[in-house]
């Protein structure tokens, strides 16, 4: 009996000692056990709020103002007299602002057709893992375009509404791993005024794009908008309307993103990309272009609003 007691005592002590070792060894496990599962949102599917010329799913964070300068030179095939297109540039200046992390508004002006555009952009679903899983990021974009150039035919009865056009896109993107993002962008462009009865006021298009990370500060991008046949019958300046295809790279240095591209489109908005582009890669109607964006934080996160935290 005595032996048994001793044995039990030893046993109990052993349990105690081992428990105390356990308690010391696994404070981290204890913390992990206490943890609530969190949702991890996918970040940086694309570097900019534009893939090349059209929108990407990305939005500016709350309180961030993004100033964008877009530039498209003339076609490379325009010859030496125009320095291979460098003499003829179209420019878009734009401001986008983050009302919230997911809702942005924007305004811009393109020199081509002297068009002013106003945009509402809402990232309403985010790709996420963890507590909840969701495979896609989805963003809705709506833009109103106002063509402020002089009427081409001032003698006829011109309506104000004829200056207006709209576009609506649903952008769906997924980032696969760390390097590759794909995006689909079904889009409708509605023109209040079209040249003939055979031209549809609303042109439906499906776009696709990708962004591939090459290094931490270099990415390759491509963007294509396909317009199904039979929607646009009129020529523009004697040329058929073509699908828009652009390729480019993003170079990132601190607060700037430089996007350099080659494209068959001179426009920098969806309205131009879908239905107004006549450039053809095959004929050498290739335009060099760039976007430069610079962000300004107008409203700081709450941790930084009070001083000397």
């Amino acid at each position: 009996m005595k032996k048994c007691k001793t044995l039990l005592t030893v046993g109990a002590l052993f349990v105690l000692v081992s428990f105390s070792t356990f308690a010391q060894e696994d404070l981290l496990d204890l913390l992990n056990a206490q943890e609530n599962p969190v949702t991890t949102y996918t970040i940086a599917s694309f570097k900019g709020t534009r893939l090349v010329s059209g929108h990407s799913v990305e939005t500016n964070a709350e309180g961030v103002l993004n100033f964008m300068i877009g530039h498209r030179f003339g076609a490379i095939n325009s010859g030496w007299r125009d320095l291979y297109g460098l003499d003829n540039a179209t420019v878009r200046l734009g401001f986008d602002y983050g009302l919230t992390d997911q809702i942005n508004i924007g305004i811009g002006r393109t020199s081509f057709q002297k068009t002013i555009d106003g945009t509402f952009k809402w990232k309403f679903l985010r790709q996420q893992t963890g507590l909840k899983n969701f495979p896609l990021t989805a963003t809705a974009v709506g833009t109103v375009y106002f063509n402020s150039s002089e009427w081409s035919n001032p003698d006829r009865d011109n309506l104000f509404s004829s200056r207006i056009a709209y576009h609506y896109s649903l952008l769906l993107a997924r980032k696969f791993g760390e390097a590759v993002s794909l995006q689909l962008m079904p889009t409708v462009v509605h023109r209040n005024l079209v040249p003939t009865k055979e031209d549809m006021n609303s042109v439906v298009s499906i776009g696709a794009g990708t962004s591939i990370k090459v290094t931490n500060s270099l990415r390759f991008n491509a963007e294509y908008y396909f317009i199904p046949e039979g929607q646009i019958s009129s020529d523009i300046g004697g040329l058929k309307v073509k699908n828009s295809l652009s390729i480019g790279v993003d170079l990132e240095t601190g607060g700037h993103v430089f996007q350099l591209h080659l494209t068959n489109s001179r426009g920098m908005t969806e309205k131009y990309l879908i239905g107004e582009n006549t450039g053809s890669w095959g004929n050498g109607d290739i335009h060099f272009g760039f976007n430069v964006s610079r962000v300004f934080t107008l409203k700081k996160p709450k941790e930084f609003r009070k001083k000397n935290l």
Partner: protein, 182 residues
């Protein structure tokens, strides 16, 4: 037989007692500060989990890298995407002990201690020994504070030459924890 019951009871008391000596928080603060010629960068994380065991002198911390808030959203994106790669390495952890715990005496005034242990960040684990203070506040909570510096290159965090003047190699880290009894 009574003896055995007594021993078992003592053991259980011991276990409960030990358990009661652990203090925990999930809302600790860790901030860091990088001072470089072109800009200063600071970030705050107020969702740090930490535990201190006053029975053994053990300490542990864990935090999510994505929970750091920066002044500029773009900095935050770069931090997560390019530097600490939070998709790949979501957490930073520390596990260590209070040095010379045998002579440690907790009071209502801050007591200077040294904490040694292992910091794991960006997939790299390094030994670390840092000064800190511990005190018991009027609510019976344990307050722990520490300020120390780390070298980001030791954790394999690479800074491209283009932004070398924006990001310091040596980063100051401030820890501010209020632990409650478990």
């Amino acid at each position: 037989m009574k003896n055995i019951i007594a021993i078992v009871l003592i053991c259980m008391c011991n276990i409960t007692f030990m358990h009661a000596q652990k203090y925990l928080t999930r809302t600790g603060s860790i901030s860091f500060f990088s001072e470089a010629p072109l800009e200063n960068i600071e970030a705050y994380n107020n969702q740090v989990s930490g535990v201190v065991d006053l029975e053994t002198g053990g300490m542990a911390f864990t935090l999510l890298m994505k929970a750091f808030t920066f002044e500029k959203a773009l900095m935050q994106e770069h931090f997560n995407e390019k530097y600490v790669e939070s998709q790949k390495y979501p957490k930073a952890t520390f596990k260590g002990n209070i040095k010379d715990f045998d002579s440690f005496q907790l009071g209502s005034e801050p007591v200077v201690i040294a904490v040694t242990g292992k910091l794991t960040m960006h997939g790299v684990t390094k030994e670390l020994s840092v000064p800190a203070t511990l005190m018991k506040d009027i609510n019976g909570n344990i307050e722990g504070k520490s300020v120390f510096n780390i070298d980001i290159q030791e954790y394999d965090i690479k800074v491209p030459s283009a932004v070398r003047k924006n990001i310091a190699d040596n980063i100051e880290i401030k820890v501010n924890m209020v632990y409650e009894k478990m």
